[in-house]
Symmetry: C2
Subunit: 716 residues, 2 copies
Amino acid sequence: MNKASDFTPISELLAPRSVAVIGASEDLTKFGGRLFKLLVQHGYAGDIYPINRKRESLLGIKTYASIDLTPTPPDMAVMAVPRDAVKEAVLACAKAGTKAAIIITAKFSDAGEEGAALEAEIVEIARAHGMRLIGPNCLGIISPASSLTLCASPALFVDKLPKGRIGMVSQSGALMATIFDRAQTRGVGFSHCFSIGNQADMQLHDFMDFLVDDADTDVICTYIEGVKDAEGFLASARRARAAGKPVLAVKSGRTAFGAAAAFSHTASLAGNYEAFAAACRETGILLLEDTDAMILQATCMSRFALPKRSDVAVITTSGGGGAITADRLSDLGVPMALFSDATVKSLGLLFDGPATSANPIDMGAAKVGGSVAVAEDSIKALLQDDNVGFVLAPITTAPDVRLICESIVNGAESVKSPNGQKPWLIVVQPGQAGDAARAMLRERGITYSDSLDEAIRVVEGYRDYAALKPMDAPERPAGLKVRDTSDLSGALGEDAAKAVLAEYGVPVNRGAVAQTADEAHELATEFDAPFVIKVVSPDIIHKSDVGGVVLNLQTADDVAQAVTDMAAKLSRDLPKAHIAGYLVQEMRCAPLEMFVGANNDAQFGPMVMVGAGGVLIELLKDVAVARAPVSVDHARAMIQGLAVAPLLDGWRGSGPLDVDALAEAVSRVSWMVADLGPRFQELDANPVLVGRKGEGCVAVDARLLMANPDEEGESR
Amino acid sequence: MNKASDFTPISELLAPRSVAVIGASEDLTKFGGRLFKLLVQHGYAGDIYPINRKRESLLGIKTYASIDLTPTPPDMAVMAVPRDAVKEAVLACAKAGTKAAIIITAKFSDAGEEGAALEAEIVEIARAHGMRLIGPNCLGIISPASSLTLCASPALFVDKLPKGRIGMVSQSGALMATIFDRAQTRGVGFSHCFSIGNQADMQLHDFMDFLVDDADTDVICTYIEGVKDAEGFLASARRARAAGKPVLAVKSGRTAFGAAAAFSHTASLAGNYEAFAAACRETGILLLEDTDAMILQATCMSRFALPKRSDVAVITTSGGGGAITADRLSDLGVPMALFSDATVKSLGLLFDGPATSANPIDMGAAKVGGSVAVAEDSIKALLQDDNVGFVLAPITTAPDVRLICESIVNGAESVKSPNGQKPWLIVVQPGQAGDAARAMLRERGITYSDSLDEAIRVVEGYRDYAALKPMDAPERPAGLKVRDTSDLSGALGEDAAKAVLAEYGVPVNRGAVAQTADEAHELATEFDAPFVIKVVSPDIIHKSDVGGVVLNLQTADDVAQAVTDMAAKLSRDLPKAHIAGYLVQEMRCAPLEMFVGANNDAQFGPMVMVGAGGVLIELLKDVAVARAPVSVDHARAMIQGLAVAPLLDGWRGSGPLDVDALAEAVSRVSWMVADLGPRFQELDANPVLVGRKGEGCVAVDARLLMANPDEEGESR
């Protein structure tokens, strides 16, 4: 087996001296026919070796009966052959010294166990020979920057592939082709597009890594069904962030139906969406839901500088269109810009009265000459205004749509900025009345959209991207030791779970288990009143329902009496229940109940959570999730993003609560679960009572679930 | 002044024997030039009278120097003249006996007080002569069904206007034209489109009423900035519902920025969006946020029967596209259909294994022949499946997109249904690779979309439309008298507000105001313990903050002592506060705090509200709103739609709460505020404590705000 560093890097794979097309033909109804034709058509400069036993030549290019007969070993091979012929073809390529093979053919791990076994065999063959594999079950590569297309999609039946500075990695071949196709009709091109299929060998992050380093790529778009190597993916995302290249992602498999569809498609386990989303937040990936909006977002990001603020100026030909736009942006919480004095002054030359400071600007209300006359000066003023981060120009059906758009473009292009221009976007809303404008915009290479909805998503995307705060790995708190976990196994109850929490510095209320009323009395004398007692029994789940909890006991005598009474009641009502003892605790009260929890994601490892406790937890679904461990600052940011955050800040004059203590507790819990290792499954500290500022917080109930030692690793 | 019935109905206005175009020219850069040209071009069959002093003829049609010189009085006049010439033109038309005039010219009530005064003068002139006005500040009429265009928009510079069965009323002329233009590029047409501008005379509901009765219209689309006549609008919506014609609406002015834009646009006071939305729910109007989606929704509704259920079947060429679609539908809560046995059997002939029951269906996984081979039979099976309410077919870039779409169309069209077909929709996602498919679909008159996002909105729209439950006016509860309001004025405190609530049958906790500790003692002996006392003072707003509330007093002696202590504390801390007394109440506890409130909307009158009380009210913004009065059933439906509804149904085994009592209270409050008349401003019963089922509910605090008698009417 070779090491990763022994394999040829993607940059080299994209410049092959020769490409073998296994299954090449002139039949455009076949994958091999289209792929071969398109490779020839789009100007690949190296040698092409069509592999075909029946023909002497194809499209005037000499064929070879098998891969070992080519004049030189092909650097790259692409195969669209029946599934049962793939293994043999891979072996032949590997033996011939091919550096990489693209396997279009499907029905491997995407089609059950037998296919998965065959896929594993093929990977083994390739690795043994130092050959890389892309796919199987993929649609290949479209690389305008390398003048290399190894893809059979009808999206490529165009005269010339547009080039752009967007790179794409897609787990779905059809979506890669569709996105490419839609983009090019608007004049938007890509540097490189990779369809990665089942990721048998090369994975999502291999291609992301390449695009991070690639000089032709500024923005990276991904369509993801499931992440196979979480660490690789995270590292790749961090490298992109460091390189200043935005990564955008659309992830499917968020819901049960979506996950089922994704699994049957590329054998991708969709994983827990919340964990994926947390990983994206942590590394600064912008998650989107619509591929059309993703491409428009990427186009804007590749052509404009990132804006310094999210405030939007809207300039339009229609008061109604402006009103709709303003409503929708406001609904999404995107701020509408308040113009600077200089802008108001400039607009005052073009408009009357209140219209000089109104946002949206209705160009139809111009003093003289209508929209065409004022568009150029208006957008100039807006792009020069530091209060404006984005200019959105929805243009409705009107006379001279082309002239209006041209004025906007002229105005925008006259504004120079040393660090690149802030983003602006024309939305061409008319039908046929906008066709001339669209043609002009494409010809001038201007980014535009046909859809207000899509444009609004992009504005929202900029806002969300600016709000991402990638987190560095936190520093381990001084003196915090890694706990040995050999004593922890199975479901740990309140007392045992709290003991571990306490070891990690999470405040818990004092308590201990008594066997008798006398022992309970003694414990109570050591603790501070008031007290609570709870029965400890493996047979009793809902303690309150059977009288197994008594609250608000004021004295040690009360505690002893309550234990006596409880024992009597339980032996009467539940004679078969094994009573392991009575937990005596200090009872605590505080203004707010929160919960802190954790689980262990199959792909992204231990995740820590904080949210509203009590009744709110299920009504609000108000939970912040992050990969463990998290720093105290990160924990504080999680808390501040919750819907219940106003309660923590002080509610109707009740004064602020101890957010610092809660953040500290969340961070401590995160270190704890990170240390608990692969056997860790679930932690639930609920409620965690949060006191007023300076009063701290305390976990008054908890449970911990660990896999048994023989199950180690299965939970991951 | 004439009565409404004296005016010519719109049906007649759309069939004028003659039309005068005031300001007609051959200059296509001018409104009058374009409008005249388009009127001639699109086959209007009556006489056209261009009014133009300088020319003998225009486009070969004889001109007239003024409107009184035309051979017959024109039935209809349209004017795009300078604002200062409008009044004279209107007077001339009115005198000539014109039945209706369309005023394109702007800057009337949309441009301040002076414009509003001029608009009022013009309306007066028209009404005095029995002439109707459309506009001003509008873009006229596009009526393919009547072969009449009185509109200057470049949207109409096409050979032939497509006809369809959708009617449109738009407060924005530019949006009307844009919507028309976008729709026609997809082969979607309209019956009649009206741009209504400032609604100086004819209003939104006049045109809605016409479309309800119009034989050429099946679905009504509206773009609304503000409703001038709420009752007329509601009546119109109810008539449409009764006629089985869906009404769709996009409303702008929901937010501060949107409202400002709408106001400066057509002088429309946007009003409170929640009240408008409540009116739509009540009358069965489907509120949407995107005009593109509205048109696609209307197109589907005009071409297909309303589906019996909302479950969606997705059939696609791409596993990835299917996964995204399934995720997005699931996110929105739209159910994915579970196929019937018959469908699974039919699909079993086309697909292997689990794919035969999977939804989405990935046609790429067909046993043989790919998507083209299975599309026809697949959609047939789905359209015949009673478990399926809607079939969505997102088609990605693939070979033979046209053939795939053709197979789908053939399959769908072969399924006959006596009551019309259930809706199905192809989404053509490719760029250029989909152009042939689009052309085929347009040619065959098939509804399609280019945008998955828009198609998903339509599926959601069907679901929401089905969920609308229009409410009849409720019956007044037996024996409930209309209260005389002459004694109610200004801000009424807890005691007075509760008295009114009690008169309307809303349970309130017992209480009365004492002046002294002795009086308080006496009151407490009449009531049931525990007690609460609250200071009554116009000078003290936040009673709790100054020690003006004491809870949980057990005996009459405790009450007397608490009053003594409170009086001492207040005279020490707030010597200048006027103390009007001490409210002694029975203290009540219950599992849940709700609030019931009401206000008086400027357009839609008294509105009743119910929502979560206490801390939840501001965190959840969880409030149901309806026009008062509401029946108990309506109130129950409002409550059941709240986010806190699970708490009322019984939370974690706590047992159900008394929803019936709460619904009864909401209904009673609604009758109360409806009876309080135009001086009613605000009511807040908060909290209303809701007990367990059978225990009732009780309002334990309340305040009521009434305008003073001399302000009558101003609050409306």
